[in-house]
Every structure is written in C-alpha cells, then in structure tokens.
C-alpha cells in the first residue's frame, strides 16, 4: 500500500480522503494548509499527493517529483488542461465517487 499526502483546507474533504484511503490500507498524512503541505512534501516519503489547490507551477511549489492528483470543483476543460500543464498527473472533480477516486489513486500509484 502507498503513502499519500493530502493537502486540503476543507476539514470535511480532508477527513473523507483520510477515511476512504485509510479504509483500503493506504498510509495517509493530512496537511490543512499549503505551507505545512510543502514541508511534508519535502520529506520525500510519499508516493502520491492529493491537493485541492491549484498553483501555476505545482511541482516547483511543492518541491517534489511524486505524482500529483488535483481534487477540484472546476469541471471546465480549460481549468483541467491548465492543471495538467502545471504538473498535475491526474484530477478528480468534486463531488466525487469514492470508487472513482480509489481507481485514480490505484492508477497513479501503480
């Protein structure tokens, strides 16, 4: 199973991710803001990062090369294309099906 870092300032979303991913055996670390997320990302022991914030240069900001799954409320193609250009490896739109989320996580952690 994988080690996953969740960066989400919405307590409900962070808790849901923690419960859903923990239920299938992933080790989940939760950061509630970007600066603590950046610190955790630099520790380098995660296999995947899930975040709900969009930054123009995701990878540079996070200082990490692990896959990044963006959790977003935006459904418009332009936004999703920009997220991918910025370094997101995948995305899941809110609201989401836990089954789809786990499938995407499984794909990215291979």
């Amino acid at each position: 199973m994988s080690s996953i870092l969740v960066i989400d300032d919405d307590p409900a979303a962070a808790k849901l991710l923690e419960l859903a991913l923990g239920r299938v055996g992933h080790q989940v670390d939760v950061a509630r803001d970007l600066s603590s997320g950046q610190r955790a990302a630099r520790s380098g022991h995660h296999d995947l990062m899930i975040l709900d914030v969009f930054m123009p240069s995701l990878r540079a900001e996070l200082g990490s090369t692990v896959p990044v799954l963006v959790l977003t409320g935006h459904r418009q193609e332009e936004f999703l294309a920009r997220a991918q250009e910025a370094g997101a490896t995948g995305y899941v739109t809110k609201p989401f099906s836990v089954r789809d989320l786990l499938a995407e996580v499984a794909r990215l952690t291979g």
Partner: protein, 406 residues
Amino acid sequence: MWRRYGDVPYTLLVFAVFCLEVLGLGFLTFTFARRLFGILPYTQVQGALVGVIALTAASLSMLTGYVLLYHALTRSREQQANQRIEAWTEQWFNAVYGDGALPPVPLTSEALEAGLNLRHLMTGDDGRQLAEALWRTGAAATLLAQLGSRRLLDRMEALDGLARARLPTTFAPVIRQITHPEPVVRLMAARAAARTLAEWSGPGRQEAIDAFARGIGMADLPSGAAAETMLLLEGNAPGVLSRLLTDEATPVSLLRAALDVVGRLRLGEFAYEAAVRISHRDPEVRAAALRALGRAGRVPMRARDSVVIALMDDTEYVRIQAARAAAFVPAKVAAPALYESLGDRSWWVRRASAESLLRSGKWGIAALKKAARAHPDRFARDMAAQVLMDAQVIRPEEVSRLKAPA
C-alpha cells in the same frame, strides 16, 4: 468574520459603554460650564475631569477584556466543535460502508452539518447511500421545517443544506421557493434544485426536468446567474436546454443564459437551435448564439451564410462573436468575408477575424499572408502580420519583406 457568536452581549456591552461615555462627557461639560461662570472652584473641576477619565479607562478596559475573552473562548469552542464534527463525519462514513450505526435521531446540529458536508463531497452509489441515510435520520424533515420559517436567514440556511443534501424527495418544496419575493431566495432555490436534478437518473427525471425548466423561467434571475445555475445541472442540462430553446415563450434573458450554457458545455447538438437565433432582434441574443456556435465548434450548414452576414452586424460584440464562429465555417465560404473584416473599425473584430483565418487551414493562412501584403487597410495589414508572427508562421524579419510591394 471575526465574531460568530454572542451578538446580544456584545451589543449590550457596547451600548452600556456608549451610555457611560455620554453621561461622563455630559457631566464634564456641565462642570466646565459652571467653572466658566465662576460658580465652581477649580479643584472640583479637576476632580470631575479625573473621574471621567477613570470612567473612560474602565469602559475601554471592559470592552477590550470582553473582546480578548471572546476570542479565547471562541477558539477553544470552535476546536471542540470541529472535533465533534470530525467524529460525526467518521460515523456517517462508517454507516455508509456498513461498519457502524447511523448517528442517533434526532440529529444534533453538528451531526447534521457533518452529514451534509460529507454528502456535498460524495456522489455515485456511496453518495446515494448517504443521501438515503440522511433521509432516514430525519435530516430532510429538519431542513424542510426550517425552509418553512418566516425568517429569511433560516430559509437561506435550509436551502444551502438542501443544495448539499441533493435529495430528490425535497425537489418539489425547493422548486416552489423559486418564485419567492426575495431574489436571494429565488437564486438559492434554483441552485439547490439544479444540484438535486444533476444527480437524478431514476423515475421522475423527465417531470423534474420539466418542472425545473418552468421554474427557472419564473425565477426572474439575471442572465449570468441563470447560466451559472444551469451549469450545475451537469448531465441533465441538455434536457432543460432543449425545453428552453424550443419554447417560443422563453424570456430573452433566459434565452441568452441557455445559449451561454450551450457554448460553455460545448453541446454541439444544440447548434441548430443556436443558429436560428443569429438573426434575433436582440443583439445580446445574437452574440450569445454566435458565441455558443464558436465554443461548441460547430456551425450547421444552413447557418453558414448567417454567420458570414453577422460579420457586418451594427453591434461590435456581435461582429466579434461572428468572427470567432466563422472559424468553423469552411474557409472558401468564410475567408473572403473574414478578409474584409480585417479592416473593421474595431480592434477586437480585426483580431478575431485574423485568428479565425489562421485556424481555417491553408486557405485562411494564404488569405492572411495576402492581407499582410496587400489589404487596402493599413490596420488590417498590421493585424494580419501580427497574428502570423504570434503563431510563428512567419518570422519578424519576414514581415517587412511580406509588406514590400512586389
């Protein structure tokens, strides 16, 4: 917001401080006046002054103390509330997956909040199970009772909760609020109904689509708000749009909103419905129809001439959208008109025309090169050259060669 609770004690305290200050200043004025007329000795004036300053200091200390105490208590109270909400979230989650019992009925406000927050995030089979759990524990009944309140704030909170819950059984009461006299309630009701309808796939779906299409027509929302609301319909948007775009009685502002949604969701199947509005009497509808075609990336064959004619519309923003939509008209039909539009008096029309020519393949690029070289309008020549350079079709040093007379 820095204060979330305790409005009444805070108001009473501020009022008490205000009254003390008014009394103190009144007494001070009276004392100084008596001194001015020589009625009072100076020592008594000094005493009054010191007394009023001490009163002011005490009042300010009381106010500051209250604010500091408020923040200290609120912080710990919010932390405790967040912990309880997290525990309820876990209980709802475990109940959905069969690992635990549902929260006890009647739900506490924190249990309800946790359930609604979770439902707001979850869709699919798990989301539907959670919706059913919310129904069984009386969450819907609580929210519907709140919706019947006379207080506006209660109604708004109920609609916010119902939008998050997305329970088909609450659709009818929500849609009834769409004619409420308060615009904010109408908007929130429309958004809650749209979010509920978005997930509706079972029996009653068509009736709900019809009810929503009728309701949004009666909501009298500004065009932008109506469009944003209809975007929430997701997979059921085409059903509602079909009703609105085929109904002759659809108000103009709603028609604009529907066309905007066609474009933003790139619903090419409504290209014909958009195309017939290119010659609408309202320029904003004409622009919305052309924008929809441009965004959907499809111009029906019978609408090609209309798009080309719209390049000569009197209204600038209609011509801009026509130039953008013309990119999806075959170049041999659109290129001559776009070539002419490069000389339009509006910079935006010239730019849109040049970009559409660029997208039209080799015919369009040939027309742009010709325009850069030989268009009778100087601004058209500059725009054609600029767009060719931006797209790296030509290098900057080639521009002067292109513009030089043969």
